[in-house]
Symmetry: D2
């Protein structure tokens, strides 16, 4: 596993200006915060990047900007979220051009499909790109749970390089880690669940893709290094602190989905001076002052200035 990407790979947010353009200075500060925080990689164009609300032009612009700001200091994984293979491969072309270290692809979505179609899609992606392919398991968005045995089988065959697990199914994740070990560990396993990364490390995760890592990258890095060192009390203490910070996403209880979660991350980063605004991509509406106060308190309680 020595050469592999592992550790903390936050899904970088996409900052916007007040008039809805990608806010490059804010993005540059955010990338700097992540790299300075010691992250092992950056995941661009994930769900946390509001990718589902961006057209192809803005997706490419965001990915180019991230890779430019990262400037080779850590690997960049590129999300290629789309309904079907040719569209996904068009995003992969951009990822190849900007030097991404891999692409992260979901099951097909919108249309109802089964395991045969999902397997065929991943195979077509792997054939269509020179980049390593990561499977993005996010049934809350795709409404399909990737089966662990399929993932490991595709890992053994070299179709898949890793899995970004945002399934919320810790029993399935344990089985995936077990099956992966039994197969010689072909897959790198990253968890996307910010508040149970410690348990995922015990289960066999190689790292995390924490949306909250935009707000506190150094905390996730400390947890990762402690896990590598077997210092589980530190792992737990850091996770508990971060889980308390994660309560920011429950502050806007009148919102659902990214309007709440990404809204809270952006509001925190605006409060911390990293982002110039907490604007989101339409039709998402940014959080208001009523939420910002409580979010600032939770940041302070977690030790963020």
């Amino acid at each position: 596993m020595t050469d592999r990407l592992r550790g903390v790979v936050p899904p970088v947010l996409t900052p916007f200006t007040a008039d809805g353009q990608i806010d490059l200075p804010s993005l540059e500060r955010l990338v700097a915060r992540l790299v300075d925080g010691g992250v092992d990689g950056i995941f661009a164009l994930g769900s946390s990047s509001e990718t589902a609300f961006l057209d192809d032009t803005r997706r490419a612009a965001a990915l180019e900007a991230v890779t430019s700001f990262v400037d080779g200091r850590v690997p960049v994984l590129a999300g290629v979220i789309d309904t079907q293979v040719e569209r996904v491969l068009a995003h992969a072309r951009v990822a190849e051009r900007v030097g991404a270290a891999g692409i992260v692809a979901t099951a097909p979505f919108y249309a109802v499909t089964g395991p045969a179609e999902v397997e065929a899609s991943f195979r077509a992606l792997a054939e269509g790109t020179s980049l390593p392919v990561w499977a993005y398991d996010i049934p809350v968005c795709t409404h399909y749970k990737l089966p662990p045995d399929l993932l490991v089988r595709l890992g053994v065959e070299g179709v898949l390089t890793g899995v970004k697990d945002s399934s919320g199914d810790d029993v399935s994740f344990r089985r995936l880690a077990m099956m992966n070990r039994a197969a010689g560990e072909p897959l790198t396993l990253l968890t996307g669940h910010e508040v149970v990364v410690d348990g995922a490390y015990l289960a066999g995760a190689h790292g995390s893709v924490p949306g909250l890592g935009n707000v506190d990258p150094a905390g996730y890095v400390r947890m990762d290094r402690a896990a590598r060192a077997g210092d589980w009390e530190t792992v737990r203490a850091e996770q508990d602190r971060l889980a308390a910070l994660f309560e920011i996403v429950f502050v806007p209880s009148d919102r659902v989905g990214p309007a709440a979660g990404i809204g809270a991350f952006k509001t925190a980063l605006h409060h911390l001076g990293v982002l110039d605004t907490n604007v989101m991509a339409p039709p998402l509406v940014p959080l208001g002052a009523d939420h910002a106060g409580r979010i600032a308190e939770l940041c302070a309680a977690a030790g963020l200035e």
Copy 2:
């Protein structure tokens, strides 16, 4: 309602050649079958067109071919299924160019959203196109049920022109029809559920968008004319015959979603000599000979040669 599109508006399939290209001669024969069957309009690039498995180039090509083959004899509605507004509007540009009579748009999908985001999306679409906007209520794909009161409110304001209801929620459809009447009938209501169109007519539907109408357009037209004439026994008898024919979609019991339903429609039309193949867009795999025999029997039992 006199000038409005109403009646039978089948969602035309997208035929493919054995090597995966759009099969234009087959599509021309299919369009001819629909128009000759007396349909009142054609819905292109709906879910039944395998739109979710087509990239933008093939979507545009399919829409152009359909409108070309229709040649103004009936209005063509254009599906603009996509994750977010700018992408939807890019499809709308194509629809405008080819002379479509309206666009049919879903709620945003992939990302979890709520009523505020859905309303804002429809408003942005209406502002961004000169074409009438139809709401496509298809929660099995979008995982969001469009609320009837929202739809009627947007109808009253002129944001929406009609609704294509594939929700499977007949209670909600009844409420939608009631609210629509109470508001002066701003919306045209079309049901997408092939086997309960008769009940939808009683509830207040102005027409149907039956996938099965690809296989038997004349049957749906006869049912529609009988409903307009208040001849409910004919309506029922025709619907019962069509419901028996619809059993073709349950023949491939080992498939889910479009791999079963559209697979069966294409296999029936191949059997009937309309399509040269029953090929589907990858990763969908066409039905085999094991299924074709039973589908041919059901076609014969329904009186299709």
Copy 3:
């Protein structure tokens, strides 16, 4: 079908006194309203009777009271809602004793089961009682949709007599009606969906079990007689009036499940002078004056004094 129970079979509510006892005088008035309204049968201890909130003693008392008040004028079906077979059969013993015309049983619930367990359960019930067994298809409560082919097969074998369909799945109901006809019509099919009974009649329903029939039994009877006479315009007009009345269940938009629906029925019947209170079984809380006013308006608009 001549001897069979068919037509309108409302699921009679269970009125309570202010201190939570079964309110026998109110129940007697309610039963009289149903019988005087011309109903063809009464379904006691259905979900609308708040059966899930009653212990066995009160269930038996409610059933005895209903059959006593009905006094043989129409058949009484007895709900036997419970988790497993012996419990269901204990309820069947009471039903046999009071002279019920049949029992209405769900799939097992709480535990996750599949078709094999569901089929075995219905077989065990039929062997354990001399009464006809009706299948109660109510996946919103049992979280299992009864497959139409299983139902018809059990009908052919004499295990099941009929189906009370509260599935909300009109496509499945159409298939059930088709398969039932093809099999010689072994099953009597009643729909539980108050606002789409007209479409269910077209599909092949033999009658309805409308909760709203507690509030307006005569309206459902008029619709049924019109359907038998083939007078579909009257069917539709009556259904539209009843669907408008059904809006009472959406008035308490801050409630879910029976707290809204049964709460509204009881509040309407209290307003109409049939029930002395609108009290529900704990932990359900009755609707308040804020809702009662709007419910009274909707009753008046539907022509109920």
Copy 4:
């Protein structure tokens, strides 16, 4: 926390004879295996006891037998799974009589309810019994997820003593543990997810209720003692071994729910000589020889003789 029940509290199975009676000698051996394995308590009449398939007589008989065999060596928690409060309290009467240490109650089920009804139900239970009340969070059966803030609030007020979490929602469990600590730890938190107990310990679980603990109680006890000692590598190694053993429940891939899981536990214990049969309560059908062989292999691989 010193006096509290914590640690390993397996949900004891209910063995049956070939003719469907509770198999008391097998149950005595199973209880002995648990107690000898060092468990800290026993949970009787949980979902793993097939409680949903038992009538009240057999439930009481099973509980009496378990408490008799345990004979005071460890506390016994009694499941009181039922649809509504009076029924639950009838089970509580039995639990009080046999000296149970607490009752474990779910949200109401079958009927759809909301947080107000759930809260009122738990309050009514606590008022109706002298025994400590544990909340049983098992949405796969009740279809209602208990909100962590409600649980902690009821803990602070003394309504609830603890939570048995079988929700499969590790993010919610982390939040529950955090909120519980912030409130002074009024609740004892036990996880029911056999393969991620290690992560639950890190999150703040006080113990586990592992169905698989019937098969390997000593393994869960070793994991618990290691967790208390902060020896996380041992925790993880033991959990990995037990997770590999848990694969027995996936052997019967043609079954769902308890027919698979409990079927596998019983088949393993029959293979190990603890149970005389692997019979389940009807309508559940025991696993066959085709499954037993693979289950025996997995037992051997986990070091069980």
